[in-house]
Symmetry: C2
Subunit: 450 residues, 2 copies
Amino acid sequence: MAFELTEDLIEQIENFIEVGDNASILELLNEVHHADIAEILDEVTTEEATYLVKLLDSETTSEALMELDEDYREEILDNLSPQEIADELNELDTDDAVDFLSELNEDIQRQVIDAIEDEQHAQDIIEMLRYDEDSAGGLMAKELVRVRETWTVAGCVRKMRAQAQNVTRVHSVYVVDKNDHLIGRLSLKDLLTAEAKSKISDIYIPNVDSVNVHDTAEDVARIMQKYDLEAVPVVNDSGVLLGRVTVDDILDFIRDEADEDYRMAAGISQVVEADDNLLKLTRARLPWLMIGMFGGLSAASIITGFNSIFETFPKLLVFVPLIQATAGNVGVQSSAIVVQGLANDSLKGNIVSRLLKECALALINGVSIATVVLIISHFFFGTTYLESISIGIAIIAVIILAALIGTFIPIILDKKGIDPAVATGPFITTSNDVFGILTYFLIAKLILGF
Amino acid sequence: MAFELTEDLIEQIENFIEVGDNASILELLNEVHHADIAEILDEVTTEEATYLVKLLDSETTSEALMELDEDYREEILDNLSPQEIADELNELDTDDAVDFLSELNEDIQRQVIDAIEDEQHAQDIIEMLRYDEDSAGGLMAKELVRVRETWTVAGCVRKMRAQAQNVTRVHSVYVVDKNDHLIGRLSLKDLLTAEAKSKISDIYIPNVDSVNVHDTAEDVARIMQKYDLEAVPVVNDSGVLLGRVTVDDILDFIRDEADEDYRMAAGISQVVEADDNLLKLTRARLPWLMIGMFGGLSAASIITGFNSIFETFPKLLVFVPLIQATAGNVGVQSSAIVVQGLANDSLKGNIVSRLLKECALALINGVSIATVVLIISHFFFGTTYLESISIGIAIIAVIILAALIGTFIPIILDKKGIDPAVATGPFITTSNDVFGILTYFLIAKLILGF
């Protein structure tokens, strides 16, 4: 943890770049971790970053580029020749290389692939560009250590040494038959403790978890989490070993999913950061404010529709914000619990029992809040008994309604293959607001008869 | 992925338990993964689960118990003797054993620790119970492979074999000096390729990331993610190697944090699941509905305070839901972006420029929405020009106000050491609602003069 990014360091680097003192830069950044190099690239101008990428060795800069924000990486890549980009790709595992490449336009993609020296690496990348980004195929890397069941331990160690050169980290050793079908795995522990002359077929573990190349990223994440796997082999439909997905890719995926759910709940429609430009931020935020606006205008129509209330029971109008807030809050709570239950696969039991439970819960919350409001409205706001009772009953009804909408919309969305987290977004909150206000006035009309 | 949990299987197991046919159960569940055993335990009654835990071997059931919901695990443990619990703990890594143990009351804790056979394991567990749950010490496990710099590769492999017996998975091999100070790490790759007679001091990598035992879990997670580490060694203040944190613990931690932020944004105050009982769900949900209720009552007071509006400009009242929804939505959006920025450490630049940017963004969104509302209110709701203009200006003001509150509250909370995600919860949303409505009527009063 010795490295710390200071303004002094950045200034020093910028000065060296200005005078072209490459030797000092190389000395300064020698042995600095690629994640730290990425932070430096983030702090300097695009031109300076390009200068550094060209100067430093590709082994470091390729990994550093992977850490950068997509847009910024593109800006830097625009300043590099296809050959220079190919040099960076040479140093990356196939999965990262593909992520990298898929951001470029097809024309440059072709030029870059042509410029990659390692034929096999280029072939692998072309193959992987075919897979859907959010599938096991899109997440996997081709780099892995594979051994044949017929080898001896000694021969295996010899061949593994050669293969290990191309693999950044050896997570697992996979055992294949002569047709490259995955048949098991080998623990490094067993390999350390086995006799040199033993056959691999005698010591390998035949029980190996694997995923299909077309499995979704969600499925891969679920399996890896459930079984605490650090890497999982990927096979095609006939069981041939194609690659492996490692836990760090899944970590990124899980974080992205969580961020997306969070953004959805907050009414932000795109991946944005506080430091993005105004146009991007507006595009992410305005659409969902517009949904809220149309909800607000619908509510205005409803209130206008009950216009006799203005003369007969004007006091009912002051409780509209209370009704709206309650409907919105209950709906989001209910949805969030269901969305998390769906995400963790922990939602069990049948629909009817869930319905009864949600109603019971809403009744408890509803009666509690209605009682407080009934008393406060009568004694502090001077509403009549009948008005207070209308408000109280409306609150209970609104809470039950919002809880049911909040619970079942995500379940229905999920059954239809739509991300249920959408339900925690402004669309449902807005609907809840509007239904809540409508329910409030309908119940008041029924009881008070205006 | 061959295993699938079916109702038939559960029924079969329950029948075997009823007739006490242990042999059939053992045969059926032989070689089933502990994560799957956990799912089975989840489906049967507590008594049946206890029966299975006692019957199956502790190596499987201890890991399966770790996967269960805390409350349910406690119920099962209540049916086991201290000796039986100790047998389960014997099979777990120290970090899991400590999690397990910390749920029991102190009396039983002592009895269980006394019953643990392995003295060293018991010592380690007692040591670890001292550390804060959310610190590196609380996350780490004592099980790791450590080698001395003075050893030869051949000697090292021999000693590693012995150590590896106690370590579920070998992530890294750590190199220590004679006082157990961490001085580097050894890659298994290098060990595979080194000469048997080389000294460890010649081949180890001296540059090793480590964390202090008192570092917070957040810091550990950030470092492991930044440097893509699968395991990180934990040292005390004088650099002595104490244990290691692995990526799966961090994965759980990251998921829990994301879930917590999400719950906070949705107004749920505790860890709850859809399947929890009514009391627990009510306790998690009612408090934040109450906050919303008090906000709604405050809004009611504000409207009552502007009571002349009922006679002079009643049409303004129908737009209250619109104002409230807009204020709430803008506030949550702003907070969510800042909260994510703080979580990812991507929030840069000074306060003043952030303030100007947030104002500019609010102005764009505000003018867009105000224009639409101004036109619709005049032509569809028949408000006068002056009324429409008041509404439009109020919307712009409300959006700017909500955006500023939403942006700065999380920044201030973060500076004060409070989780900024609180700002996306009902408390701030409610404040935004109330301030929004107050601003609306104040501006209308200023322009229309009632």
